[in-house]
């Protein structure tokens, strides 16, 4: 069945995604990028350019380079917003015969839907080239506040581009679909969309399989570009203050500064401080000048803090418009690249008192949601065979009370896993297999599912016997645990039926407990691991002394014995660092055994052949 394209037709950038093998994915365009500028141009040589190429020549061809048409699609020319936007755009516009908007490119006048159709046409052609198959249908997203006429015009744009538009969906709804929230019943969701040029807030309510938009708001002229603008302004001012040069007159310097500002913005999302370093940014009578300036995250937050506060005020207003209380909102979704900014995440979190969703790339989440809707039409999302995953890890207890997972949580079942274990003591003839479920590193903190004993293991030094443990969990969640001693062939097994019977709440509780205790558990586990390592080293040292007592000298023997005693003492206590350092001391001493023995063998006559062949 032919694929249906999901398209996020944006004001500044657009993106396309499809569902393949049940998974939505964003498609790269012909230039190898995941987003396409929503820009169309007619070049001087009368060639039509769309996307990045159109953008690259916009400086030299401003009259014939058209962008931001999403602000005009389906609108009346006399709308005050249209008149306002018109002032800041370099291309010509006029009223069409039907009262709508027309833009001029070359000698011809175009309707906004014709321009959008050119962008959509490129997305279609690039997707076809990428997938190697024809695409005839699409799902296209629009802002939630679009009225009928704007939606109809967007649909027409699709049809002009040769796409049958299966559905026009709202951008916030697409974002909710991308996160799979459409399956949650009776939930109220806020979508916070801080894009490049526009800021949109929507309140959604999910009823029985329908997502309803309850209120929308925002600011059509607030976006990441404003943040960039503030940074550039600041950098220019500082430079002028410190160096006395106005860089804003030099187009290349401004261009470099723009890129540096964007880079600094991105870096300050993860780092607390960044350096903007542009050698040879310009030159004056005294020679070349450089641009070096440190910028902190605090400074950036200071520069744009009011924009963020403004956005939160708008959120507040939209929730009031929807006649909801703040506590009614169960989920928050972040859309738009600017939401990567820590300040925005903190403010949103603080305002709602809960974590927003932001697992999916915020630049792509709308296109992905459109593809999910397309996938539903395509029938790809219908699961014939519903496969379960195990909610918590399954494993056994090993030396020192440590929980060793055999099957990690979120593994799709049915599945099975083998692992070979050994004994912890010399001449140990039985092992206990203690089957557990949970996420805590210590066995005692997890839930016991069952236990059994495998005996009849032939006496042998510790670490020698090989006990193979097999976990097998079938599609119904029934767990079989087998243990088999490889030497004797003795086997034992247990069948556990209730391994996946935990309720959702129980699972959640256990996971949260694991997270809450993560630090303390890690320390406990490290101590036990250090102890195990120490025990083993002490055991090895004692064994070595016994084995090689005739071949090593008294000094070394004594040294070893002291170090063993030191280590044994440390093992009685809880100090992990002491155990580790004593273990290291002892193992360094142990290596001397080998040294002494090799030295002895080197004292042998030179002409003696290596130990090889028949003796």
């Amino acid at each position: 069945m032919a694929k249906i394209l999901g398209i996020d037709l944006g004001t500044t950038n657009s993106a396309a995604a499809i569902v393949e093998g049940g998974e939505p994915k964003v498609l790269e365009n012909a230039e190898g990028n995941r987003t396409t500028p929503s820009v169309v141009a007619l070049s001087k040589s009368q060639e039509r350019l769309v996307g990045l190429l159109a953008k690259r020549q916009s400086v030299v061809n401003p009259k014939n380079t058209v962008y931001s048409v999403k602000r005009f699609i389906g609108r009346k020319f006399t709308d005050s917003e249209v008149q306002q936007d018109k002032k800041s755009l370099p291309f010509e516009m006029q009223e069409s015969s039907g009262g709508g908007v027309e833009v001029k490119m070359g000698e011809r006048w175009y309707k906004p839907e014709e321009i959008s159709a050119m962008v959509l046409g490129k997305m279609k052609a690039d997707a076809e080239a990428k997938l190697g198959e024809k695409i005839e249908e699409a799902v296209i997203t629009v802002p939630a506040y679009f009225d009928d006429s704007q939606r109809q015009a967007t649909k027409n744009a699709g049809e002009i581009a040769g796409l049958k538009v299966r559905r026009i969906i709202n951008e916030p709804t697409a974002a909710a679909l991308a996160y799979g929230l459409n399956k949650k019943k009776n939930e109220k969701i806020v979508v916070y969309d801080f894009g490049g040029g526009t800021f949109d807030v929507s309140v959604l309510e999910i009823g029985d399989d329908v997502v309803e938009v309850r209120a929308t708001g925002g600011d059509t002229h607030l976006g990441g570009d404003d943040v960039d603008g503030r940074i550039i302004e600041f950098l220019l001012d500082e430079y002028k203050k410190n160096e006395g040069t106005d860089l804003s007159k030099d187009p290349l310097a401004v261009q470099r500064l723009k890129e540096a500002a964007e880079k600094a913005k991105h870096e300050l999302s993860t780092a607390m401080e960044t350096e903007i370093n542009l050698p040879y940014v310009t030159s004056d009578a005294n020679g070349p000048k450089h641009f070096v300036m440190k910028m902190t995250r605090a400074k950036l937050e200071d520069l744009v803090g009011d924009l963020v506060v403004h956005s939160i005020d708008l959120v507040k207003k939209v929730i009031e418009d929807a006649k909801f209380k703040l506590s009614d909102i169960q989920e928050i979704i972040m859309v738009g690249g600017q939401t990567r900014m820590p300040l925005i995440q903190e403010e949103v979190k603080k305002f709602f008192g809960r974590e927003p969703h932001r697992g999916i790339n915020p630049d792509e989440v709308v296109a992905i949601g459109a593809a999910v809707q397309a996938g539903i039409f395509q029938g790809d999302v219908k699961d014939v065979l519903l496969l379960d995953v195990i909610p918590l890890s399954l494993g056994i207890e090993t030396l020192g009370g440590v929980f060793t997972p055999m099957i990690e949580k979120n593994t799709t079942i049915p599945t099975s896993k083998n692992q070979v274990y050994s004994t912890a003591a010399d001449n140990q003839t039985s092992v206990e297999i203690h089957v557990l479920q949970g996420e805590r590193p210590m066995a005692a903190d997890n839930k016991t599912l069952g236990r059994f004993i495998l005996d009849g293991i032939p006496p042998a030094p510790r670490g020698v016997p090989q006990v193979e443990v097999m976990f097998d969990i079938d599609a119904n969640g029934i767990l079989q645990v087998h243990a088999k001693d490889k030497a004797s062939g003795k086997e034992q097994s247990i069948r556990i039926e209730a391994s996946t019977q935990l309720s959702k709440d129980e699972v959640e509780k256990l996971k949260q407990e694991a997270a809450a205790h993560a630090d303390e558990d890690k320390k406990k586990k490290e101590l036990i691991e250090a102890r195990n390592q120490g025990e083993q080293t002490a055991y090895l040292a004692e064994k070595s002394i016994g084995e090689w007592k005739d071949k090593i000298d008294a000094v070394l023997k004594e040294g070893l014995e002291t170090k063993i005693k030191d280590l044994r003492d440390a093992l009685q206590k809880e100090d992990k660092d002491a155990i580790t350092s004593k273990t290291q001391d002892l193992s360094a001493e142990l290596q001397k055994i080998g040294q002494q023995m090799y030295n002895k063998s080197n004292e042998r006559p030179q002409d003696e052949k290596p130990m090889e062949g028949d003796e």
Binding site: S58, P251, Y280
Partner: protein, 146 residues
């Protein structure tokens, strides 16, 4: 008889599901391989992209110093050494000459300037452009005749 039909139908359904799962898995393995290759390629691309400003600064430095012939030859050698390394990873400079016609697939206009040259031709390259493999990772920044 009805029972037999039902079982047959069920068998076909299961067999089909099993085959699909097998196919999905084998496709997944292939995709995964491609994905890993892509990640390798992409991580190189990111690194190379981040290095481009360094090359630019080098160019600007040489240009600025070169006027007074103050530059030791060794500095030029370091630059070409760096270019050679990046070339090995597929980075190619996009050649630009004055008088070339402006082509947005490889050029980005930063300004249009008065000139006695033919309209729409390149007057000056202000920042080099680069190709990585067959992808233009940065267009050459140019001034174009008005």
């Amino acid at each position: 008889m009805e029972e037999l039909e039902k079982l047959k139908k069920e068998r076909d359904e299961y067999l089909d599901g099993w085959k699909r799962a097998k196919a999905d898995f084998s496709n997944y393995k292939k995709d995964e391989l491609k994905r890993v290759e892509n990640i390798l390629k992409l991580s190189n691309e990111q690194l190379i992209r981040d290095l481009l400003p360094v090359l630019d600064s080098f160019d600007l430095a040489l240009e600025s110093l070169g006027e007074d012939k103050k530059v030791e030859r060794g500095v030029y050698l370091i630059r070409s050494q760096m270019e050679d390394v990046l070339k090995k990873y597929g980075l190619e400079r996009i050649p630009v000459k004055a008088q070339d016609p402006f082509d947005p697939s490889v050029h980005e206009a930063v300004a249009s300037v008065e000139s006695n040259q033919e309209l729409g031709t390149i007057v000056e390259e202000v920042e080099r452009g680069y190709r990585l493999g067959d992808k233009v990772i940065r267009a050459a920044r140019v001034k174009v005749a008005k």
